[in-house]
């Protein structure tokens, strides 16, 4: 689960990482009030779960509360890379002398947490890694050894931070970031930029915080931070029904069992000259109820012109899926053509059930490739 900047900063503050004081606002009036309480100048920052806010006009400085209200009016409702701004974080403006970068991530290759630190902050870290890799200091933490202060010193000295005050403050922040990372079951804690004020004070000016969904049962407070509005309406409806659904931008609705097979199905649709409308994984189930729910979610998308059911029965039995499809068709009015491909456990029985019922608009194809071609054809 990705957290908003303000939520990540709240967790930073909980672990003793210095952040600027701020207020959440969902209307221009609240932005005005926040600016009054905080004292101007303030920064009005769009809260969206994507990068590139600054370039998209989602971060603006305001010198007065009236100006904060005005900026809030401009930013609220803005579409930033497909994310509509519903919330603003109003924060005391910071004077910036230097911008650094600090992060702690999961290194999947090394199977260890990885610290990255550079004094070239404020910009895209991939760019730093590419253009001046020597400026990016990396350090893996052994999960059994845990964080030790020498690791922070390696980062700070390694990156060439020379001011003793900065060295001391950053080393402390590094340790606290590790505590936050472990304490919150985070997959990513990123501070970009980590600023130094003209007075020499080090502070986190932004936060990127991702928490492991599988660990949320241990963190009810963080789980409660989930913003249901951050995911598209149709994905929300699907999740409530226990179906894994991701909306895409095409015409062929996809239903399958197993994440890998569904991904592969999307690719095959593209190779057949079509565009997949979604990713939809029935999971191990595939009983009638699951099929009805998933079909409902898919047909809700007005872009969908045809549906491709791609089932490989392992634990899932194809005869059950066939019955589920027939039940779904009898319970709901689906006008879309449906192409079905069944293979694996009880596939023959499943095909026989569908052939006997032979509902209008239902096509059974023997292979994944042929079924994909037929679905693309029907969607045109």
């Amino acid at each position: 689960m990705d957290l908003y900047e303000y939520q990540g900063k709240a967790l930073f503050a909980r672990y003793g990482i210095p952040v600027s004081e701020g207020r959440l606002a969902t209307s221009p009036a609240e932005a005005y009030q926040a600016a009054v309480e905080l004292g101007c100048p303030v920064v009005v920052k769009a809260q969206v779960l994507t990068g590139g806010r600054g370039k998209a006009g989602g971060i603006k400085v305001a010198e007065t509360p009236v100006e904060a209200e005005q900026r809030a009016r401009e930013i609220l409702g803005l579409d930033i890379r497909g994310h509509v701004v519903h919330k603003l974080w109003i924060e005391q403006a910071s004077e910036i002398a230097k911008e650094y970068y600090l992060s702690l991530t999961f290194d999947r290759g090394a199977k260890k947490p990885l610290f990255m630190f550079t004094t070239q902050g404020g910009m895209d870290i991939e760019q730093v890694a590419e253009e001046s890799p020597e400026a990016l200091v990396k350090f893996h933490v052994d999960p059994f050894e845990g964080f030790q202060p020498y690791q922070a010193r390696r980062l700070v000295y390694g990156a060439g931070v020379s001011d003793p005050g900065e060295q001391r403050q950053i080393a402390a922040i590094v340790g606290r970031l590790y505590d936050a990372f472990i304490g919150c079951d985070a997959l990513l804690c990123e501070v970009n930029p980590l600023i130094v004020t003209p007075a020499g004070e080090v502070r986190a000016l932004d936060s990127k915080f991702t928490v492991d969904d599988n660990a949320l049962y241990k963190h009810s407070d963080i789980a409660a931070m989930r913003d249901p509005e951050a995911v598209p309406v149709e994905e929300r409806a699907a999740h409530q029904k226990g179906v894994t659904y991701v909306k895409l931008d095409g015409e062929v609705g996809i239903l399958g069992n197993g994440a890998g097979l569904v991904m592969s199905t999307l690719d095959v649709i593209a190779l057949a000259g079509g565009r997949p409308a979604n990713f939809c994984d029935l999971g191990g189930g595939g009983d009638a109820e699951g099929v009805v729910d998933a079909l409902g979610v898919i047909t809700n998308d007005p872009q969908v012109k045809a549906i491709f059911f791609n089932i490989f029965g392992g634990i899932t039995r194809c005869d059950e899926v066939a019955r589920g499809i027939l039940q779904a068709l009898s319970e709901t009015s689906i006008s879309h053509p449906i192409v079905v491909r069944l293979d694996g456990t009880n596939a023959e029985e499943g095909r026989r059930i569908l052939a006997e019922a032979a509902p209008a608009g239902l096509y059974v194809e023997p292979t994944m490739l042929e079924a994909a071609r037929r679905a693309v054809e029907l969607a045109q």
């Binding site: 199977k111 997959l187 890998g260 097979l261 991904m263 095959v268 997949p276 392992g314």
Partner: protein
Amino acid sequence: MAIIVDASTRLVVQGLTGSEGSFHGLRNRGYGTQVVAGVTPGKGGQDVEGIPVFDTVEEAVAQTGANASMVFVPARFATDAVYEAVAAGIGTVVCIAEGLPAHEMLRVYNYIRPHGVTMLGPNCPGVLSPGKANVGIIPAEIFREGSIGLVSRSGTLTYQIGHELTQLGLGNSTIVGIGGDPIVGSSFIDILAKFEADPETEHVVMVGEIGGDEEERAAAYIERHMTKPVVAYIAGFTAPPGKTMGHAGAIISGSSGTAQGKKAALEARGIRVGTTPTEAAQLVAELARGG
């Protein structure tokens, strides 16, 4: 021979008394796997259709000589189950359980490696050596005995490719599901090394997907260390960045982890990549028949 599981595998099922554990444990026994014990704390002394249940893995090992474990317990107890198996001297752990917190799995990984334990999963379909042993939830009837090693991050996609191979008259030495999570017990490289050393395996199919850089690392490994031909398939060419595609590990972050990047990395090392599961199977068939 085959790899990881075979006729000498003596399996203990952790969570045998649960509905999933008993269903699949008995199914594995029905296939011919020696399922010698179950473990459920508090249920020692019971049995599941003749399979004795113990309170601890240590006791199960002492009484039955179990040498492999299948973990079928709920996610929040799964890491504990893995540690218990390793502490009892089990050398092969197959973790079917899904939903394990990544931080816990990170510690498990760093713990098992120096112990020389082979772990598959979490969130994996298990491992099948046709004609010898089946440990996990792979539907064995799709596969037949043969000389092709198959390693995959996905379940049903593995079945799809196995099915395509069977249609072409080809069989498998061992089918290994390593799991779809970001951190799993065995990497592609770990399994590729086992296939390279296995006299029964002549060709290998590697089924990858978006996310991480395991396939890229495997490509470099194959070029340097493998004499046996490898064919690859990658799923997720149409997946958009930033969206998790079902598997927790299947997410494109930034510019890395794309299917295009993986395909390019493999092909740059001379490894052929099928664009569909059907094509991947056909490529293997060509190799197998061409000798």
